[in-house]
């Protein structure tokens, strides 16, 4: 049965599983999306992969901050720790036994990211280029520094879309940026965005 009444306000938050999506000309890629696409073990991997393929087919330009590379390294190190110590992995941060696996995963992730980028027109930004915008984003919208760097990259590049699996970006006003995220985070992103604009 079709839903009754007005459809919910999108607040410029879109699910990347939505087949009726109009794809942007350019989009900022957050590390959370890169991890989801590159690692088949991630829960939203299939949807993220399909969205990446759609972006490539639509000739969308990817814009990203090189902070992503470093965050990817951290993710990989944590993955190696989690593989070795599934329950209490945080405690084993300095356990040398995970390092060899981390090194192998890190090389794999870096190559995969480079290969992934080769399918797109892309623009890399450095942290230094956007650093001046970061404090304002932190104090105005309550961003953590990592998130603020990616948001600042979008503003610096003049790109009005971001693809992320991190709900924090919903704190940016909808007049500045559209968010593409997985279906399970759409409702929360819209809720945070409504609260931020209230």
């Amino acid at each position: 049965m079709p839903a009754r009444g007005r459809p919910p306000a999108t607040r410029k938050v879109f699910s990347f599983s939505d087949p009726s999506l109009i794809l942007p000309d350019a989009v900022v890629v957050d590390t959370s999306f890169a991890v989801e696409v590159l690692s088949p073990k991630q829960p939203a991997h299939s949807a993220a992969l399909a969205f990446a393929e759609a972006l490539a087919a639509a000739d969308t330009t990817l814009v990203y901050n090189r902070l992503l590379d470093l965050e990817l390294d951290e993710v990989v190190y944590q993955l190696a720790l989690k593989e070795r110590h599934p329950k209490d992995w945080r405690r084993f941060r300095h356990d040398g036994r995970a390092r060899r696996r981390a090194n192998r995963l890190l090389t794999g992730f870096r190559s995969a990211w480079t290969e992934f980028l080769s399918a797109f027109d892309y623009v890399p930004y450095t942290v230094e280029e956007v650093a001046d915008r970061v404090p304002e984003l932190m104090t105005r919208y309550g961003f953590a520094s990592y998130d603020a760097v990616h948001a600042a990259t979008a503003l610096e590049a003049g790109v009005s879309a971001i693809v992320a699996l991190d709900t924090a970006f919903a704190m940016l006003p909808l007049t500045r940026i559209a968010i593409y995220t997985d279906a399970s985070r759409v409702a929360n992103c819209r809720r945070y965005r409504r609260a931020a604009t209230a």
Partner: protein, 48 residues
């Protein structure tokens, strides 16, 4: 996208849609981690 950003575009190495799809799929087959991760919680320390 600003004009300055457009000037900095690194062009794709693969141009046609089918090859792009194949490249993306190949990239995602490179790695087989056995664990999964929530980056917002683990790496960025958010708890919501």
């Amino acid at each position: 996208m600003t004009g300055a950003t457009k000037k900095r575009i690194v062009p794709a190495k693969v141009k046609d849609a089918a090859s792009r799809q194949a490249t993306i799929r190949k990239a995602t087959r490179r790695i087989r981690p056995k664990a999964k991760i929530d980056i917002a919680r683990s790496v960025r320390g958010q708890h919501r």
